[in-house]
Amino acid sequence: MIETVTRKRIEILVDSPLVRRVTAAIEAAGISGWSVIPVTSGSGRVGRWHEERVTGADKSIVLSISSTEKAAALAEALAPILTSHGLLLTMWDVEVIRGERF
């Protein structure tokens, strides 16, 4: 039975033009990496949007695996701009193999 360790998985939904801002924060938190997943449409308080890459009004999800401490530090760092930048941050515990990486 291969042993796994517990790490945090953080996913941040963000306007595509702002992805750089979020990844900069991730790297500032000393996290080893991140990946970006496309989001094609959505709906929230300010209404619905659909496939609007042309106007730059589309969104992406930045996902990152890290230790609980670094995840907390990242949340800390992003908290002040969460509302102003309309970020949606969720995180939860996941089991990973090769945990030493993170």
Binding site: D15, P17, G47, E51, R53, V54, T55, G56, A57
Partner: protein
């Protein structure tokens, strides 16, 4: 003028735009894949840039061009001021949103210009090639004015400011427009020959499909627009009329031919919905896209495509006649 307007309404370019508006209003599922839409917008910018550059390579550079460029930059810098005042006091927007919207109206819409180019061509009053350069230089100054208005008294961190300036001055459309303009100037007509089939012959067809998509997006946004008050709606029509008229007059005043003066009017009347929104997400994330995109894309853009271009063409001819 009526005839003019009518003539444009039988052009496939305009008809596909209307089809898009109609389909979205009927809530049809018709949609263009966004990778394709993005690709078409890049193609249109590269093509218009190339053609402008080739034209300038033929005509050569002179004072007239410098004058047009200067007027364009000035207009882009100043237009947001009036818009901001109206948005604050008439539409009662907060500082941030008023600044964001003002930036859109000071800047320009590439697709509106491209469409005007085609329509004016059909009307035998094609704008000068260098107007593409004017288009390119008018995109960014308004963003700076808008930001100053929105951020009065506040300040950005250095890191953010650097990133912001890069986004503003090196944003995709400016780089692609000026870049392909330069390529057109260097390659000249002989060099252009080899790529003409794609960038010239194919141009109007692609424009049709792109306007179909713009029609779909514009109408869908309008139907979901929650933040759009009647006051904002009024301004989204008044701004193009006002700025466009001033633009045509200024253009004629500095001695542009009617076609170019009309194009300059269209530039002033148009509101950006590709370059500026992206910059705003970065610079003013608190501003509500539901306001600035609904106004520029769902109201001002259709107004210019369907009526503005015809109006400013008629006005330019009138002034030239006078």
């Amino acid at each position: 003028m009526d005839l003019v307007a009518l003539s444009t309404f039988t052009s496939p370019v305009i008809l596909f735009f209307l089809l898009g508006l109609l389909a979205a209003t009927l809530r049809s599922e018709l949609a263009i894949p966004e990778a394709m839409a993005k690709g078409m917008s890049l193609y249109l910018m590269a093509a218009i840039g190339l053609k402008g550059g080739v034209a300038v390579a033929k005509s050569g550079v002179d004072l007239e061009i410098a004058l047009a460029l200067a007027t364009g930059i000035l207009a882009s810098l100043l237009m947001p001021l009036l818009a901001y005042a109206a948005l604050r006091h008439f539409a009662r927007l907060d500082q941030i949103n008023a600044g964001a919207v003002a930036a859109h109206y000071g800047s320009v819409s590439v697709v509106t210009f491209v469409t005007a180019n085609e329509v004016l061509g059909v009307m035998a009053m094609p704008p000068a090639g260098y107007m593409v350069a004017v288009l390119a230089v008018m995109e960014t100054p308004a963003i700076l004015t808008g930001l100053l208005l929105a951020r009065k008294g506040q300040s950005e961190t250095d890191q953010n400011r650097r990133e912001l300036l890069r986004e503003v001055f090196l944003n995709a459309s400016v780089v692609l427009l000026l870049g392909s303009f330069a390529i057109g100037v260097i390659a000249g007509s002989e060099g252009f020959e080899e790529v003409k089939p794609l960038f010239d012959s194919g141009f109007k067809g692609v424009l049709c499909l792109f306007l179909l998509d713009m029609g779909l997006i514009a109408a869908r946004r309008l139907m979901d627009a929650r933040a759009l008050t009647w006051r904002l709606t009024v301004l989204a029509i008044i701004f193009p009329l006002f700025n466009g008229t001033l633009g045509v007059i200024a253009g004629t005043a500095i001695g542009l031919d009617p076609g170019s003066a009309a194009a300059f009017g269209v530039l002033c009347a148009s509101a950006s919905y590709i370059a500026v929104p992206a910059a705003m997400r970065l610079a003013l994330p608190e501003a509500d896209p539901g306001i600035y995109l609904s106004m520029s894309l769902s109201l001002t853009f259709p107004f210019n495509i369907l009526f503005g271009i015809g109006l400013f063409a008629a006005l330019a001819n009138h002034l030239a006649g006078a």
